[in-house]
């Protein structure tokens, strides 16, 4: 009996102790580390008509793995960096490249040397000087093999960058050669003396070939000027401490709490002006919960997913708060050019023409997307309106098979040699992808009479398989999202022999030549024309079935005013130009 009582009381005490740990207030000995209170609660110093200063609360989904300009590569990571730092250039809402930390830039006559001139009087948020040597450090660090940044290859157009990056040992010579090609200096070319050299306002980059698009690459986060002394003092984990994120962007980070929150206040020293609100990033992964929180006024901006679209459209208030606009990705049904039957353009065309893209967008994507028959999406430089080739045409699709000498018997595709060819559609196994691919398979059955087998695989397995030409499946859906808005990024970076298109065995020497010519062309009209020709040639060869462009979709509370819609918004509506946003009292 005593033992039993002992046991029971032990259980009770243990559970009470655990409950006490869990709930209740924090132990008094622990000073709560809370972010600066929203300034709205502070009484304004002067009783003048101060504008409302609130906090913009945004749900960001997954918490960043790493918040380091030269190592980050995910949208959610970039959305943090973008507030705290600013590159030499940035994008406006129409995706033009405009001055940011650099006031101007200039190419030499053959576009192999790019010179940036920094704004006068640039400072970091702590008031310290920001000179060109800081950008020099960022570009050096980005291409350093010791950094091994996951996005570092984006700057490989700099002369010597790829060599330095791939160097394993005895790297001094390649490093020095690369450093010669990324140099900060005074306007007259004199060497800079350090981070306190006020006259150090010029940054020069030498490219390995003509690259009249590189000033746009300079807008990317890999060139953001995080401070060398803070990075070195903090070691590999420097980015975990909000205090180490002294930047030059429109906001200052006040809190970085692992897994739960990143908070910002306006940067009072930002050259373009001072924002009138704070920002709170929350990290709720589940879309249904985030949607509830939005309806409960706990968030001002949340992503709008397909599963909540119906609810939103049937609700007059919510539907007025929905913002749906073009994104930066194109998705296509990829055909492996070296695996039968897709070695034959007639089969590729038949499968492409059998897909009703408009029905796909309305039935499968529920309107969250727009159909396309070309590669560069609407809103991006290089977009070509009016492409009609390989549009949905059931009769033409069947005819294309017949023209190629194929027949269909009992759901099987029979080649000209009389042999049956099995066709398998591989996809990353999620409920969403299952619905999508089942829809496609049904369409092919309906139009072409062919039974296409479904092959679901685990998502990382899918990534691994589709990365390599030898393991890439016969057919699979894949997309490309722009790194930066230039046709070069869509065409040369993807479709040149040996680039990303290699995974499906795509290689077209004629197209390579055309793209290389376009990349180096200095006259912007001619350049645009060459890229247009290249895209035309790409579509004509029908290597893949272009299917749809994504959309950005957000719910935004009515008191958030002035959020700009940019295809390259990374994480939330308006993050490309946060200064244009104001909050109204609510």
């Amino acid at each position: 009996m005593r033992k039993l009582f002992a046991l029971l009381s032990l259980l009770v005490i243990a559970s009470m102790a655990l409950a006490a740990c869990g709930g209740g207030a924090a132990p008094a000995t622990e000073a709560p580390v809370v972010p600066a209170e929203p300034q709205a609660t502070e009484a304004p110093a002067e009783p003048t008509a101060e504008p409302y200063h609130g906090t913009l609360r945004i749900n960001m989904g997954s918490f960043p793995d790493i918040v380091d300009p030269q190592k980050s590569s995910f949208v959610g990571e970039i959305a943090v960096l973008k507030l705290v730092y600013e590159g030499l250039t940035r994008l406006d809402k129409d995706l033009n490249t405009i001055p940011a930390a650099a006031e101007s830039w200039e190419y030499n006559d053959d576009a192999t040397v790019l010179t940036f001139t920094l704004r006068e009087g640039l400072t970091y948020s702590d008031g310290s000087l920001l000179n060109a040597a800081r950008f020099e450090y960022s570009f050096h660090r980005n291409s350093d093999p010791a950094t091994a940044g996951e996005y570092a290859s984006i700057a490989d157009d700099i002369l010597g960058a790829a060599e330095f990056r791939s160097c394993a040992e005895n790297c001094d010579a390649v490093r020095d050669a690369f450093y010669e090609n990324t140099k900060a200096s005074h306007a007259d070319g004199a060497a800079c003396t350090g981070y306190d050299d006020e006259a150090c306002n010029t940054f020069t980059v030498k490219l390995k070939q003509a690259g009249p698009y590189f000033h746009t690459v300079a807008s990317l986060w890999v060139g953001y000027p995080a401070k060398q002394e803070l990075i070195e003092a903090g070691g590999e984990n420097w980015w975990l401490d909000a205090a180490n994120h002294i930047g030059n962007g429109p906001f200052v980070m006040t809190t970085l709490e692992q897994g739960t929150q990143v908070a910002f206040v306006p940067n009072e020293t930002y050259w373009a002006g001072v924002a009138t609100y704070d920002i709170d990033y929350a990290y709720i992964v589940d879309g249904a919960v985030a949607f509830e929180a939005y309806k409960n006024d706990e968030f001002d901006i949340v992503g709008l997913g397909a599963e909540d679209l119906g609810t939103v459209q049937n609700d007059p208030t919510l539907s007025a708060e929905a913002n749906i606009y073009p994104g930066s990705c194109t998705f296509a049904m990829m055909f492996h050019q070296q695996k039968a039957p897709f070695t034959d353009v007639k089969v590729r065309e038949a499968f492409a023409m059998a897909i009703d893209r408009d029905a796909w967008v309305s039935d499968v994507l529920k309107g969250l997307g727009s159909s396309t028959l070309t590669w560069i999406p609407k809103g991006f430089p290089g977009y070509q309106d009016g492409e009609t080739r390989l549009a949905f045409d059931a009769a033409a699709a069947v005819q294309s098979l017949t023209d190629g000498g194929y027949t269909v018997v009992d759901g099987q595709l029979i080649g000209a040699d009389g042999k049956a060819i099995e066709i398998v559609d591989t996809f990353s196994d999620t409920p969403r992808n299952r619905t999508r691919n089942e829809w496609l398979v049904a369409k092919w059955k309906e139009v072409l009479g062919i039974d296409v087998k479904l092959n679901p695989v685990e998502s990382t397995t899918y990534t691994a398989l589709t990365k390599d030409i030898n393991t890439a499946p016969q057919m699979f859906i894949l997309g490309w999202c722009a790194d930066y808005p230039d046709p070069q990024n869509w065409l040369s970076v993807y479709w040149k022999t040996g680039a990303f298109g290699e995974r499906i065995g795509y290689s077209n020497p004629e197209l390579d030549a055309l793209m290389t010519q376009a990349d180096a062309e200095l006259d912007s009209a001619k350049r645009a024309d060459l890229y247009a020709q290249a895209q035309d040639m790409l579509v004509a060869g029908s290597p893949v079935a272009f299917m749809w462009n994504n959309v950005n979709s957000y719910l935004v509370k009515p008191w958030v005013k002035g959020a700009t819609q940019t295809p390259m918004d990374s994480g939330w509506i308006g993050d490309n130009d946060p200064l244009s946003i104001t909050l109204e009292a609510h």
Binding site: N296, L465, T466
Partner: protein, 332 residues
Amino acid sequence: MATYLIRRLLWLIPILFVVALITFIMMHAAPGGPWDRDLNARQVDATTQNTLNEYYGLDKPLWRQFTAYVFGDVNKENKFVCGLVCGNLGPSYRVRGRTVQDILFEPPKEKSFLYSRFGYSMRLGGLALSMAILIGIPAGMIAALKQNTWIDYVSLFITSIGISIPSFVMAIFLIIIFASMLHLVNVVPKDWDDGKAWILPAAVLGFGTMAFTARLTRASMLEVLRQDYVRTARAKGLHERVVIFRHMLRNALIPVVTILGPALAALVTGSFIIETMFGFPGMGRAYVTAIGQRDYSMILGTTLLFVFLVSLANLTVDMLYVVIDPRIRINE
């Protein structure tokens, strides 16, 4: 008793080793690696992949990676880095610069251990388990004693719900009622130092275990109810309370205690669903996402921690048997 305890604890070593080996083989058998990224964006290029592989020793043969993980190996700078045997769970490949033990056990600056991921999960798991015990056992007991009355049926109904409804449904259901409709709590907890924030996550996490505990208690109470010694106790004229607590409950608790051990381990190692839905900063999400991300050391580290806790919980349960059931003795 002491020798038994020591023997059982020593057995942990081969168990952990074998689990590590099996997990290691399985995760490396799955295609893909830690540098495989979202397909629709720029992939990590081959050069960077090689550099990273070399840096983390992923370019070495598998057997050497395994021995490096368990025992240690010399790194690139020719310095010996001790492995699992020294409590080093290895670097995370996804959160670069942090080790697995940092991610799981290190609290944020100026906070106590309770604020680490494991600390958070432990507190939530403990809360959920106490809820399961404090509600589940009495509920099962009363249901058995009042068998086939409305009390029994209500308890049966509630526990059936608890067992059959998946926790993500339960979570959104409770959120809609208590946050969206009644406004008693926030949908998204702002501050985990506020006790109110813990109620819903703990309730969702503990509900299944609570229901299972209640049903198990009820079933074994019913079995005990018809035993001869209970009739004897009643015939002796013992007070009903003594019959219930000393003669019935104590015997009925044995199967319940058996499941509570592993349940505790499962609860404190975190829950993917709870963390995803409530934004709870525990370790469950780290565990599950690591698998998809092929964050090898994270997968191994969390698996071993789980096995370690299950083993400890089972050992505790075995010790508790001795306390509860006088028929059980430890053979030295």
